[in-house]
Amino acid sequence: MTVAFIILAALTTAGMAAAMGLRNLVHCVLALTLGFAGLAALYLQLGAQFVGFTQILVYVGAVAILAVFAIMMTQSAGPTRRPVFSSAWVTGSIVAGCVFAVLAWAICSSEVSRKMLPPEPEATVHQIGDALMHTFVLPLEIIGLLLTVALIGAVVLAMPEKREMR
């Protein structure tokens, strides 16, 4: 529970809570980006350099931009006057609160947190590459296939329908 962890955790939680609570959609996405950056800093704190930089590259650099483009393309003119939360918000909040309570109870009462903490492990990019090519080569190939299918699928879904022109 170092100072760095507390600051980063507060920043990330604030960003994510704002992302889920704000009225303006673009403000939500910008707060989400702050949360992603906070998470990337937490990953770096844990010693996973490669994952931290990949998080920034993929989430902040691609997913946030994608969300922003989608918001731009689906917004009707003017800010919305409708209520921000859907009609089932009470049930949803209760369910989320119960999930958090159960998880927190499970974490705090488990044996795992009382063991001795091991020293800092080393995860160089070389080792990650080795693991990807030897132990995890099958998931790597499947992910490649999945990303190709997702790319083609997203393009097909979002393509404008052809209209006949006389």
Binding site: F5, L42, V51, Q55, V58, P118, A158
Partner: protein, 103 residues
């Protein structure tokens, strides 16, 4: 409270914030963002267990996180494509109004 517990609690908190957002917001895009948030919380969990767990040299936590990031990005792309297609059909992203199977 040890470091591992604090990371796990943070991850649980982020997960429930994402779940609350996904269950209560009206706009379809924000539901997708909530799902992304849940996936990120799970990634944090994986990395915390990799760092403080029994066998960090196997790099399992990092591998899982890398694959999870890729899958989440692909899912965000396809999900937003679906939202765009639905918007083109019914001119709204309001989930409360998407309650009929007939087009």
């Amino acid at each position: 409270m040890s470091s591992l517990t604090s990371y796990l609690l943070l991850s649980a908190l982020l997960f429930s914030i994402g779940l609350a957002g996904a269950l209560t917001r009206r706009s379809a895009i924000l539901v997708l963002i909530g799902i992304e948030l849940m996936l990120n919380a799970a990634n944090l969990n994986f990395l915390a267990f990799w760092r403080y767990g029994p066998n960090p040299a196997a790099l399992t936590g990092i591998m899982f996180t890398i694959f999870s990031i890729s899958v989440a990005a692909a899912e965000a792309a396809v999900g937003l494509g679906i939202i765009l297609a639905v918007y083109r059909h019914s001119s709204t992203t309001d989930l409360d109004q998407m309650n009929s199977m007939k087009g």
